[in-house]
Amino acid sequence: MESHRLRAGRVIDGFKLEELVHTGGMAALWRVTKAGETRSMLMKVPFLGEGDDHSAIIGFEIEHMILPRLTGPHVPAVIAVGDFAILPHLVIERLPGKSLDARLKDAPLSPEDVCWLGAKIATALQDIHRQHVIHLDVKPANIMLRESGPAVMIDYGLARHDELPDLLAEESDQPIGTNAYMAPEQVLGIRTDPRSDIFALGVVLYEMASGEKPFGNPSTRAGMRQRLYHEPRPLRALQPHIAPWLQEIILKCLEVDPDDRFQTAGQLAHALRNPDQVVLTERAARTKSPGFVKRVKNWWQGQNRVIAPPMRVADRLDKAPIIMCALDFSVDEADAISDAVKRLVRRLLETDPEARLVCLTVLKTSLVKLDEALDQGGRNIYLKRLVALKDWARSLDLLEESVSFHVIEAVDPAQAILDYARFNSVDHIVVGARGHSTLRRYLGSVSSRVVAEASCSVTVVRLTFTGEDDDTSSVHGATPEMDHTGG
């Protein structure tokens, strides 16, 4: 192993070292080129010489193991993987621009910036969690933005893939992570909970919104343990102009007990993108740090915290899906179909109590008359639909914070449903389908397009008819027709 003798101009596995871009504690980053390769590339070469810190090598081993198994826009693309026995290295795409760290020099950022950046990062985390990986070192220096929009999580040296051995499993005599951002359970050595990334993102959001770190930057273990019982100062005490809903979202991320946080990064992204749907609790109202009695109570709870047994990342995500039901109130059988949808949704929510329900209806607008928002009686159609949606959901008896309502206007309802689901990390779409008719067979239906094109599971609910020869087509109850498409 000869990582120390690298210099510009040398060629390794066909890649020419052009320029040393960065030297960290663990590895050197070289800008590299290769004949026939147009992408901008970086080669990461770990320090593996005599006397080098062994834990630094483990970090590279982990990245070497996990990064090639991740795909999509939220991770840097892996171009080549070097043989560990000869010269270990990773060649990855070089992302243009700087990390979020650079942007934080201007903190506090505007609440709008905090929100759209936060939603992008949460979406990236949700994608990584869906691929079985917990990042465990979410911090501004490890977040970048693509020019095309998506956030990218970099540096997987502390990450955990829940289908692979944890190479840091035996290193947990010390909390592993970045002190200012580490979740309380991570301080205690737990490396199995994707909600630790949600806590760390909460710290990033807090820092973006206020310019300060909620728990400072402790260097001792006792200092780090403080977050087990120490409530961060409310953001509104630092920045009075911060909206209660934004404080609600950020402080919810920073809850000590993972069960009290957003349960998935997808749910967090949804909240950041739909501030009007955020339910305000006592968190939103806080304007000063807790008093003595509350601090003692928090401390006591912190000392006596019960640690839940670990759960697989996929199981964790499955427990808290975002379920979207698309309802159509404009058709004749609307009541019967939406009742059938409701019965199915109720059953789904019974099995996944932590699910979040998104109720959506599409207001079909024609291309010519875009601004016709009033009906013949002069009432606002948008508001009418919103009332209808809420009315529909009332008998489901849902907690206010676990349901949201959306009326969207679109020319093409199927496309609107698909776009909304993709943009909001929806896990499961429930959509009603009208009965068979010759006309629809030619025109195609909304539900069949959703089934064909959705990037998540879809359940189609259809009313059951008695049969072709029954000319009254009387409805005999409704059976959801399970039509699960792959996720």
Binding site: E61, M65, P165
Partner: protein
Amino acid sequence: MRIAFCADIHGNRAAFEACLLDSGRRGYDQLVILGDVVGYGPDPQWCTDQVRDLQAKGALVVRGNHDASLREGTSSMNELARRAIEWTLTRLTPDSVEYLTSLPLSHRQEERLYVHANAWAPALWDYINTPREAERSMRLTDARLSFCGHTHVPELYHMSPRRPAAAFTPLTGKPIPISTIRHYLMVVGAVGQPRDHNPAACWALYDTAKREYTIYRVSYDIELTAQKIRETAMPQAMAERLAKRLFVGS
């Protein structure tokens, strides 16, 4: 090179056939039989013949404690195992007993050690059930990778230099990348009598080019093997216990 591992066949013909079929379908260049060809199961002679045949075609075979006990005696065994071996002896030709008891205790192939129980004293048959025991074994061999059987529970232990070992339970069909700067000890699950509460027969594959280790589980006709056990001359209660074990995988 793709290396297929079968451990603890224990005279279970249906399970062994299912694993050979599955591994053959997925493809391998080298087969390694990690010991305990016989004991407990109803088809010791057929399994021994099959293993000899595979060995003639290039498979590597090591001796397990049940194989060894055919000559060394059963004093260290529990009653169930002992009485099963007594019955097994009545079903094996003298030539087969000679073959099984003369198998080598271990094989070494490049950086890999193949042994039934552990590397520190292969003939004493101590079990590896914890990271500490795995570490002991890994420190007492210069082979970077050890492949064992014996516990009937699939497990992977890994260790970097100067650090303690850690355990990981492999997931079926999920390849595990094997680092070149780490030591590993793979306990391959059992073909013929799984004890990890999954009754499916287990075999494993190591791909030296990709440096990936994967375990596979295969369903087989458990009822057939159970029925054959009940039809042996083993005492009825004992046969029933052995049969039941196959269904619950413990």
